[in-house]
Amino acid sequence: MLAVNFLLLSAVLFSIGVYGVLARRNAVMVLMSVELVLNAVVLNLVAFAVINGSVDGQIFALFAIAIAAAEVGVGLAMVLLVYRNRRSIALDELSEMRG
């Protein structure tokens, strides 16, 4: 099995995620796109770990997963706060700094 397979897959996921982050207006959708990007990276980590035959990549993959969970928790809390105050989670409406 070629390593390129894994890496190309992760590149595609990464690009799709980047597109999502750029194109989406809804905050939750942006967060989901960020998850795509993160997963692409973690997939890379695991792939390289297997290629190199060391577990370090897997260990860092687990670190990344844990961090992702934390990031989602905080991110969603912020989205909820924004929603509660503004009745909307459209990001481009959040440009003004006044609360």
Binding site: F6, I16, L22, M29, L36, G53, V55, Q58, L62, A77
Partner: protein, 179 residues
Amino acid sequence: MSGLASGTVLVGVDGINVAKNVGFGIIAAVMIFAALCVVTTRNVVHGALWLVVVLGGVAAQYLLAAAEFVAISQVLVYIGAVMVLFLFGIMLTRAKIGADSDLNNRSWALGIPVALLLLGVLGYVIIDGLRDTVVPDRGPTPTVLLSDGYLGPYLVPFLAISFVLLAAAIGAIVIARKD
């Protein structure tokens, strides 16, 4: 998973595992399709469910790469917790049933060239650099190795991550609290 990783499977001429490649291809195709749906769907909940498919596919890829523990963690954390959190957030922000017209921002079309450019660069680098590298067919990673890693050389990052998680949990509660 021993069944998938070391079972009696068809073996190609150059030692490349054909069944594994086919499985990879199918899963990868599904994942890419699902990922495209995530960024193009017009309903937030559908998007979240497509993301579940992508994350499940990632877990399956980890299994193919014989990273059993990571795969299970992926299911437990991503599908069991993160996605539930997402759905929770979506439902608390009153997701509508049916198509939502304003999920994209006005300049969404700019994202396509950017993403394609990125894909091109990344693809070129990957194919150029790792064209002939073959993923060796190893058995499943023993969990012991992972735990030794955590409690050995990576103890400090492990603790740091734990604190980050704790801080994130507290922060999330503080942010989302009403009063």
